[in-house]
Subunit: 287 residues, 3 copies
């Protein structure tokens, strides 16, 4: 993190391509082959959030993905310990979780806007929920929290945000079914701000970002902070969800079901990842 924050920020991450345009930073996740949330992505995100916390940081950040099919498929399930260790570097003791990292994202002075094409599942959905706003391409965006179908509740904010945004009934449906939600249903339920035609998405988001980028920083920070005070979960809530996830994801059921999914091609670019909601529904049911 150099003195000249703006220049330094435009080229320095292995898995995040950044481009600064006035007060607006575009940050594009690029972690081939699948954009899994693994140690590298988390390491880079920790560093980017650090830079964005600086007083000279851009007012607005647009997050999107270089992979049209996968914004973030989910975490790398073979590297839970490793990415958690990276996440720990963002905070103090007790903060070794994606949930606490995403809470830091929610509290950035910068305004964060997610532009969703393709799939955002699990911690991918939770990353989006931690952003300030979410806009989705109607034709191809898919959101899901597949964790319960595997064997654990979502652990990085999904429980907290979905319950507050969707209300009890729809949050229970989203979380307990582990189903894929298309953009229109996600919009109706409040999971995203709006679903718009893919062809209009870039212009909509660029317009919002440029507009906000021209507004007084003090007012932006004060307003966001006041809204956060009402709507963000407490650290205790986030830590409790993370602890439960880290316990159950290593449990017998989740281990078995994850192994079965890997046999079917989990974490490879194929049918299981493209239609994970279906794959979960087709796993052998449990007694």
């Amino acid at each position: 993190m150099g003195e000249d924050g703006k220049i330094g920020m435009t080229a320095s991450y292995e898995t995040i391509n950044t481009r600064l345009d006035g007060n607006v930073l575009s940050a594009t996740f690029h972690a081939p082959p699948l954009n899994l949330i693994g140690p590298e992505v988390v390491r880079d995100l920790v560093a980017l959030l650090d830079e964005l916390s600086a007083p000279t940081a851009p007012r607005v950040v647009i997050f999107d993905s270089a992979d049209a099919d996968f914004f973030f498929p989910h975490v790398d399930l073979t590297k839970v310990a490793e990415y958690t260790a990276e996440a720990a570097k963002a905070g103090g003791p007790g903060d070794a979780s994606l949930g606490m990292l995403f809470r830091k994202l929610s509290r950035l002075p910068a305004v964060t806007i997610a532009k969703l094409r393709g799939r955002a599942r699990g911690a991918g959905s939770e990353f989006l929920l931690a952003c300030d706003m979410r806009f989705a391409a109607r034709e191809n965006a898919i959101l899901s929290q597949p964790e319960v179908g595997i064997g654990t509740p979502p652990g990085a904010g999904g429980i907290q945000h979905l319950t507050r945004l969707l209300g009890r009934g729809r949050a229970l449906e989203a979380v307990l079914t582990s189903s894929d939600f298309d953009a229109d249903l996600a919009e109706r339920y409040g999971w995203v701000n709006r679903a718009v035609p893919d062809a209009e998405l870039d212009e909509l988001v660029a317009g919002i970002a440029a507009r906000i980028g021209g507004f007084p920083r003090d007012a932006l920070i004060a307003a966001k902070s006041a809204i956060n005070a009402i709507s963000l979960p407490t650290p205790a809530e986030v830590r409790a969800d993370a602890a439960l996830f880290q316990q159950l994801v290593r449990g017998e059921k989740a281990t078995q079901r994850t192994a079965e999914l890997f046999k079917q091609g989990l974490q490879s670019r194929g049918a299981t990842e493209f239609a994970l909601g279906e794959a979960l529904g087709n796993l052998p049911p449990l007694d």
Copy 2:
């Protein structure tokens, strides 16, 4: 409640027909002539919730009604003391209310899905709101909280759930107008998860139930419990609403207006019950 819970559960209630299919129990309310929530229905519901609290209970329950016009019209207003006495058997001291019984329903380890055709008014709507998810037939489902039109606030969770699900403005509209809401408006306001064509309702709900029924029980229970911790009212809130209802429903205004409605056919299968929202609007206004 026998040792072999699953068999025992499939045939033993006077007003609830049950059928077990794998991990999914179907529970169909059948209390002719009108499916009023009276002492018998409450007695059977208390017993069913007891069975569903057992570790061997099915993972998922689908609730529907044998009466295509009336899921639950409302409580039996001639037997408030009697059904309240039955409800008291579900809990500890201070729990003598439908509200506390419905709160127990919300906290079951089993996942509860309501399938709505016809009318669910008053405590009928509150029963649905206490379930985990609600799906409604677009052509014929009707929801309302008619209590204020009679002379008391809703007392069994309607205030709590509608305010959290719909927000202040729409909850005030629903509760203060005591109007009938059709399925589409109920969906737009968040009173039900979704309104779908009647012809698609059974398949939608069966699919969701079977899917959830195949998922790990520990994860379902943990996720539901975490969502409940954020979204359910406290026992104190539920008890306060129940106490106010039990007081005002016996007050002068409610007694007069209930008597007038009985003259018009309340609790009979006729125009007043079919269009209760209209009937309430046509009662002589008060000074």
Copy 3:
């Protein structure tokens, strides 16, 4: 405030035309040339709320505007001290703010319904949010919180109500973009109860008002009070927002941007007021 409250209420405000019809009071704001929220409107609103707090007051109030283009454009930015002094007369110490005045509006025993045609921006939107229900004309209603674009967070309840009604993501969008929202988008986000064709708006609202006006007063008050207990912000939250607004609206950035807007015709009946959302986006961006 006379003994015969009902007669006294029908003709006595300089900027509010009132008309009593049974239990329903119609209150039409009329403060030409632009319906700005200035000292006169606030003075009259303080007096009207006082009358509406009386036990003999009408059960229901419909608020609308005599100006088809401007329900309330926003506060009179040249008279912040003056209207704040008027607002102070409604409450106790610490209540010198529109926010606390609007909180008093939310807690009236009377049921308040806003009928929106034209623009309701800033404190105009916050007035509507403090009412119990809001219905908007699809063709011409516009809502916005333009404060952040000027240089301060909204200070009279907008932060509190929008976060609770719209959820974190949509509230951040509404507040941070300071954009104009049309009636349809406002309905989808929950900013208004419903958007309906202009030609149907009067009948819809009159029907709801007459219906509620015929219901028992005790039940209306008890139900509204129970919903308020869950959904209204605390006085401390309202006061904190007001204090921040009163500080930042006098700050350097807001002063500069307000001056620039005045050069463009702010508070005159012209393009800047008709399309304030656009004008804010076209102000010179800040470094």
